[in-house]
């Protein structure tokens, strides 16, 4: 299957301040964020962003606080206007849209979930969920039917008449999710949607999102500063630092080959055994002893299988094909080399 680019961002720059445009050239020729702030009192939000987001996938954008994640995601539905650059969605130039087109784009094509839920406190759960639908011009009755369906999908059946303040954070964000899903937009923008939630609840929400995505195949842009979350739900991950994309790729790419120490720092505490798969290890010539496991088995599962089978070598297969074999020793080594060899990862630069 050829993957189609849904959202295309080209050479995007955002400089906050009254005369942003006049400073783009300086940034292009190398002026950094601190210098721009000090000399010209403008804040460098984003620089030189080029990103293709694939249809039907979850694109995670990661970075520390202040790295420009919120700024980037708000360019996709033009809540923030770029200083320079281009944004295409389904080959439509978002920046060329008239006010009316933009409004319809926001009503029908892209919906959003917010970090602090952004629900209307004076409206019930149901009345919050229909917000986007009424913006689309639907009659209240039909909107309520559709909204009720989505509330059920996120597990809020029976809570329709509560007010947001009567719900826990996790439940409020389910309302936020239902409100966004109800509009049937094919793009879902989620700005740290789960960051405000407790770890257990967050994990529940990730599960709900993944389950829904199995069947909905939306194009989701998901922002987080939590690598575990990124690895769990992201098909692709892009890492932002000071407004610049420092690395993009699959989670395996990022864990195996961090582009610099900033990324290295991010990944140093993760559970590599859970992220890495057998296919990413250097394989020896296939031996005949050992158990056969698929190349996309995680190291964690492979170790468990080896221990259970009381064997110490795996034959890695892809479909019917034998790719090679790998020993328990190598698996353990790959899974644990994180902190001791963090220096080695840096030598990549």
């Amino acid at each position: 299957m050829v993957s189609k680019v849904k959202i295309k961002i080209n050479d995007l720059y955002k400089i906050f301040g009254p005369k942003g445009e006049s400073h783009v050239e300086k940034v292009k020729s190398g002026m950094g964020k601190p210098e721009l702030l000090e000399k010209h009192s403008h804040v460098l939000g984003l620089q030189n962003i080029n990103l293709d987001i694939i249809e039907g996938k979850i694109q995670v954008i990661m970075g520390l606080s202040g790295s420009g994640k919120s700024t980037l995601i708000r360019h996709i539905n033009r809540l923030i206007e770029p200083t320079a650059g281009q944004i295409f969605i389904d080959d439509t130039d978002v920046l060329a849209m008239s006010d009316e087109e933009l409004m319809n784009f926001r009503r029908f094509k892209a919906s959003m979930v917010f970090q602090k839920f952004a629900l209307l406190p004076h409206r019930t759960v149901l009345a919050n969920t229909i917000y986007g639908l009424t913006m689309q011009g639907l009659e209240v009755k039909e909107a309520e039917e559709r909204a009720a369906h989505w509330l059920k999908r996120v597990g809020l059946e029976g809570f329709e008449d509560r007010y947001p303040a009567q719900l826990s954070g996790g439940m409020q964000q389910r309302v936020g999710l239902a409100r966004a899903l109800a509009t049937d937009a094919d793009i879902l923008l989620m700005d740290e949607a789960f960051s405000a939630l407790d770890p257990l609840i967050r994990s529940d929400m990730q599960e709900i999102l993944l389950e829904l995505q199995e069947e909905l195949h939306k194009t989701i842009v998901f922002i987080t500063h939590d690598l575990d979350e990124a690895l769990r739900i992201g098909d692709d991950i892009a890492i932002l630092r000071d407004g610049r994309l420092v690395q993009q790729g699959s989670s395996q790419d990022i864990v195996l080959n961090p582009a610099d120490d900033y990324v290295g720092d991010f990944i140093k505490d993760i559970n590599r055994a859970r992220v890495l798969t057998l296919g990413t290890l250097p394989l020896k010539k296939a031996s005949t002893k050992g158990i056969a496991l698929s190349n996309n088995t995680s190291l964690e599962n492979a170790m468990k299988a080896l221990v259970d089978a009381k064997k110490d070598s795996v034959i890695v297969v892809k479909g019917d094909k034998k790719l090679g074999s790998v020993s328990m020793h190598d698996i353990v080594h790959a899974a644990t080399r994180s902190s001791e060899t963090a220096g080695e990862a840096v030598t990549y630069r």
């Binding site: 539905n77 809540l79 409004m103 319809n104 784009f105 926001r106 009503r107 029908f108 892209a110 919906s111 959003m112 917010f114 970090q115 602090k116 952004a118 629900l119 209307l120 406190p121 004076h122 917000y131 986007g132 913006m135 689309q136 509560r162 007010y163 303040a165 009567q166 719900l167 826990s168 409100r179 509009t183 923008l189």
Partner: protein, 303 residues
């Protein structure tokens, strides 16, 4: 001619405008305003005539309505506002006492002017407050005007109002409104400005237009503040009752004025207490209503 009267200037007397210049200045201003009121006073009176008619009609209506019905309405409104039988009963008893002390008619007149003044303040104040919240420049211009309206002694603006419109209900109403409208304007502005930025962003993200954002998000979220403004406006218009009486507004202020000039202690006290009673009822009922408005905002898990 010099702008300072040098003869008068000493170490204890600050520089002062020569007497003649000062007199001419005052005369000029008086004359200009008098001419203005001569040529436009009548037009202005015509302009305000519908208001006068309405005010008269409303007051007559209150006075001519049988007292049991008024008591029922008072009790009913108190209940609607506060959902409390005690409050309702208290309000009815207060009005029975007012009638018993022979202050019924004056009280109705006061209720009429306070209600009309409050309604007008709301009708004018909320749009101005919204306008102010939309633009920092408008806010910068209007805020000092509101400060002046609230701090300038009422007697000072009574002078031009009376010169223009004479003595009567309309100038009285204007005086009350000048004093009582700032809180509703201020709190509408404040309420809208305090609306959570992320909620506004959500409204934008779902494609709301200007009106939808204003009426479905900003005003509802600002409502508790707007309501606090309404409450203050009511209180402040009640506090103007005596001053309004000085320029011919009927009501509880009139006997108070008479009591002051004739040293009738009991009369002044009774009417003053009647004003206080009305104020307390309005305040408690409207506060209870305001609280109920935002009850759902309180965390209340598992209800």
């Amino acid at each position: 001619m010099s702008l300072i009267d040098w003869n008068k200037l000493t170490i204890t007397e600050p520089p002062v405008l020569p007497r003649e210049l000062l007199r001419n200045f005052k005369k000029g201003l008086d004359g200009t305003f008098r001419d203005f009121s001569r040529s436009y006073g009548e037009a202005l009176e015509d302009f305000f005539n519908p208001l006068l008619m309405f005010l008269k009609w409303f007051q007559d209506l209150l006075v001519s309505t049988p007292w049991p019905i008024i008591l029922l309405i008072i009790g009913g409104l108190s209940w609607v506002g506060s959902r409390s039988w005690k409050m309702s009963l208290g309000a009815i008893l207060a009005f029975v006492a007012i009638g018993w002390m022979d202050m019924w008619e004056d009280t109705m007149a006061t209720l009429a002017i306070v209600s009309v003044a409050t309604l007008l303040c709301i009708a004018i104040g909320i749009p101005i407050g919204i306008w102010m919240s939309r633009s920092d420049r408008v806010q910068r211009i209007i805020t000092p005007v509101l400060d002046v309206m609230q701090t300038i002694p009422s007697f000072v603006y009574l002078i031009p109002v009376v010169m223009l419109l004479g003595i009567g209900k309309v100038p009285g109403l204007l005086a009350v409104m000048i004093y009582a409208s700032p809180p509703i304007i201020r709190l509408t502005n404040l309420g809208i400005r305090l609306v959570d930025a992320e909620v506004l962003e959500a409204a934008d993200a779902f494609g709301s237009n200007y009106r939808q954002k204003l009426f479905q998000v900003q005003i509802p979220l600002a409502l508790p503040n707007i309501f606090a403004g309404v409450n203050q406006t009511i209180m402040m218009s009640l506090s103007m009752v005596v001053i309004a009486a000085m320029i011919g507004v009927p009501g509880l202020g009139v006997p108070v004025l008479r009591a002051v000039s004739n040293q009738y202690l009991a009369l002044g006290l009774m009417n003053g207490l009647a004003i206080v009673a009305i104020a307390i009822i309005f305040d408690r009922v409207s506060q209870a209503y305001g609280k109920r408005l935002q009850k759902h905002r309180e965390g209340d898990h598992g209800v």
